[in-house]
Each structure stands twice: as structure tokens, then as C-alpha cells.
Amino acid sequence: MTALLEVEKLAVSFGTMRAVDAISFTVESGEILGLVGESGCGKTTAALALMRLLRGATCTGAARLADVDLFSLDEPAMRARRGSDLAMIFQDPATALHPTIQVGDQLVETLRTHLNLSARQARSRALDLFRKVGIAAPEARLRAFPHELSGGMCQRVMIAMAIACSPLLLLADEPTTALDVTVQAQILDLLRQVTREAGMSVVLITHDLGVVAGMADRVAVMYAGAIVEMAGTDRLFAAPRHPYTRGLLASIPALDQGWDEPIPTLAGSVQSAFEVPGCRFSPRCPLASEICRSAPSLREVAPGHFVSCWNAA
């Protein structure tokens, strides 16, 4: 049996700049895959590449969603799948919604684009969706403009729009980063609930390991455009193998840590990574040695646990 989403050697470059470097991963039906990495590591770019929404970029590789190669579809066929087979939620709900169109209309528009509904049917479906994502007083909220809603409420609208046509796959790009901490948990709960209910697969993109720990079934860690480690969530947190993953986990402040103890940080910055020959993490890596001058590739170190490092213990 094949996975719902199979990404093979996906590479994205802007001119000579390589933003995503031949990453491969799969997402099973109903699975939540966490895609983790620091800003600029290419996680959002990878997601936009799957949506084929990148402008001025060259994408190579293959991405099969339910055995359909997304990259070989013509534009109208791809357009028909966007929003219906695969949907996306963006980071900042305040700017991702059109500022001068009522949120209800924005939702109805999605419904009527993909489903053969009358205006009235779409309206009542929109109402159901608003209820489903926990928006109070949904009738009134349908007529609201984004600026009249809170950030969390806007993200609920975005989620309603994304799940409106019951997509097979949901790409959630930092869905809680722009929100207040108290709202973050609510939105994550909602996301988990609605996707589980519908058996939807999710690629959850985030820089926050805490979010991943609570949500994802499996985690892929990205560094400088490449996946450096991939494993089941529990295993990754319990037994990280890649030095970058270890560094990331070590930099999470623990509750029992003293206030004056320094938080361990990763020395150096990601900026030089794209110019380095061989392993891109080597300039910052405590384990770097001669062999790191040639690029490592992902290898399976334990069942379902992949690491791309020569020195991984």
C-alpha cells in the first residue's frame, strides 16, 4: 500500500540559490507529520512548492498525492485540486484573509468554487463549518470583516476555509505562531480534532518543538533546505541522533532549570550553510570531522528512524 503523499527528491531553487535540497518524505493517510526547523530552512518553501504556488522558482522532483503526480498536472487541473484535495493554512491569519471581503463570503467562495452548490446551500454549509471550528454567534460572524475579529478567530475562519471541501491533505504553515500563547493551544486542539474526525493527513510546519510534541505522529527535522532526521515523535524526542536535533532539544528551557542557568544555544548561524561543501551543518557541528566534507544522505538507523549524518551515534 502506498502512502497518501509521497514526496521524492523535491528541490526548489530561486536562481542559483537552492532553498530546498532534494527532500523526500511520505505522509500516511490520517497521519500528522511535523516539519520542524528554524526560520529560513525551507519548510514553508517546500509546502508552497507542493501547492505549486511559488513564483520565480524552479521545482524538480516528484510529489504524488493519492497517486496523482502534482507536478505533472496542467494548471487548471492543479487549480481544481487546490483547496479541495490539498489545502493550506498560513501563518498570519490577519493578513491571509482579504481585508475588505466579509469572511463568510470568502468561505462561501471556496465552497462554490469546488462544490456544485447554490448560494443558499453554500451559505448554510458555511454556517455549519463556522460552528464546527467553534465560532460563537456564527450567523453574525459570517458578515464580519477580518479586522473585526481577533487573531484566533481569524485562524478559525482560515481553518474552516481549509477544511471546507474535506481535503485529503492539509498543509498547516506555522498556524499558531502569530497568535497569543493562550489561543495557541485552543487552535492546536481544534486542528487536531477536525483533522482526526475527517481522517485528514496533515503536514504541520513549525519551529516550535513543543507544538510538534503534542500534535505530530512523526517528525521531520529540516536544516538548510534538507531533512536531517526523521522519526516517530516519541522516538525522536527520546533518542535524537542528529547533532542538530540534539541541539534543538537541548535549547528548550526546562521547567526545573534555574533562572540563572544559561540556555544552551547552537553556536554560529545558518547563513553560511548554503555555501559549505558537504554536510551543511558541519560549520556548527560539534562532531564535525574530515568525512563531513562530503554530503551525507538519509539512512535508516533504526526501523522508521532516518538520520543524515556520518557521525550519528
Binding site: 487549480r79 498560513f90 491571509a96 482579504h98 475588505t100 468554487t113 479586522h147 476555509m161
Partner: protein
Amino acid sequence: MLRFLAHRLAQSVVLLLGVSIIGFGLMHLAPGGPLALYTINPTVTAQDIERVKAQFGLDQPVAIQYLKWAEGMFTGNWGYSFFGGQQVREIVLDRMPATLELMGTSLFLALMIGVTIGIVSAVRRNSVADYASAVAAMIALSLPTFWFGLLAIYLFAQTLEWLPAGGVASTSGGDLVDRLRHLVLPVAVLSFVLVAQWSRYTRSAMLDILNQDYIRTAEAKGLKRSRILLNHALRACLAPLITLAGLQLPLLVGGALVTETVFSWPGMGLLFVNALGMRDYPVLMAILMVSAFVVVLGNLLADIAVALVDPRVKLGYG
């Protein structure tokens, strides 16, 4: 909305007051004063001057004169022309329809063409068409309008004899076709410049909007490109373009003046230039005030329109 309206209305009144004070001040601080032309004329004696001054109330303190004049402006008594003694209000308002006809037609045409060009250049960014329209617009904005008008008259009226050279209608007839034929050249010249401006404005506003997150959301929803452009992008474009239309009004009015003088179009612009030659200050002041009034009113309308299309405005956002 009501508070917003009241606020903008109050602002407009302040602006108009300022406009009238500056205009009135300019006229009276000028060397020679309002009666400069009389004083040069050797057949006019000093007594005549005094008599005229008294007749027009020019012997009173400037502040009193201003108040009287402002009151007159407000109540519709705009004074009398220095030449011929006609009611200024009648002279000026007689010319208003011709100017509005020229300005309105040109603006409408320019918006249709300019906005279209702007959208196409923004969507086909950095294409040959984009560059060509950019260069063409820049050159169009560099043409002296009066010379361009004369050139157009030379080519299309005198050499090719396709169209009349000036005026609103032939002396013999005045049917619709004849009037339209007279309208073609002045409107073409005035809208040429406007199209250039609007294509640039629209392009930059569109580029700004096409990079917004909500356009990407619309794409991610699987909407058709035409729907994204016309429903999402153009709708977002509306507010900045309307604001610009308001801000552009002085240039439009100025452009209309130049065009009118070249094509002997009997509007307020031509009247202004003629009155200028005769130093007919009451007429000049009235036109200056009316044009500034049109600008202030236009901006007020533009703001209200923006508040109608963009729900964020009246709450003090955007």
C-alpha cells in the same frame, strides 16, 4: 460613519477658509494691488482710482474687505467683473459645464484605459509590454501639454482635416455629432497625460497587492486567476486608487486649464487666462476659489468613497 463624516467635513471647512485667506492675501499683497492696471493707464486720474476703490470697497482695511468678500462668496454674491460689470458668479458658473464636460470625459476615459494598462503591466511584470508602457508613460508625462495640443491640432485638424481645431461646437450647427467631434482632440490630449499617470499608479498599487498574503490565500483556495484579479486584487486596489484620484484633482484641474487654452474650449480655464490678461481680479479670485472648492469637495467625496469600499477606514484603521 457619522463621526467620520463630521470630522472630514470640519477639516474641509478649515481647508476652504485657509484657501480663501491665502488667495485673498495674494491678491492684496501684490505690488500695485488690485487696481494696478488702472494706475498704469494715463487716462485714468487719481480721482477715478479713488472712486473705483470706493465703489468696489477697496478703500477699507484688508480684514474688513476679506470678511465682506468671504460673506459674499458664501451668500452667492461674488462681486462684479472689473470689465463690463457683469456678475462674477454668472460669468464663472456659465463656464463650469464646459470644464466639467472636458474633465469628466477625460478622467473617465483615462481611468478605463490607464487602469487596464496598469493591471496588465503589473500582472505581466517585467515583460516587454510592461517596459514599453513604462517608457511610454514617462515620455507622455514629459510632454508639455500645450505643445502637444498644438501638435495635435496641426496634425489632425490642419493637415489631415479630420477634426475641428477648437471650440465646443461649430458656429453653424451644434448637433450631438458635431459636439462630439469637437470633444475628441481636447479629451485625447488631456487624457493622454492622465492615462500615463493612472497606468503607473495602478501598476504600483497592483504590484503591492499581488504580493499580499490574501492573494496567496485566494490562490491556495483554487480560485480562477481572473476571479483573483477582478474580485480580490481589484477590490483591494479600489481604496488606494480612489484616494489617489482625490489627490490628483489639482493636477487634473490644472491640466484642464492648459488644454482649454490651447483648444479655445470655453471653460473656466480659458476664462481664467483671459481674465489674467485683463487683471480682472474678482473673476480670477472666483475661479481660484471654485477650483480649490472642487479640489476640496473631490477629496471629501474620495474619502467617503474609500470609507464605503474599505470597512477598516471609518474605524480609524488603514
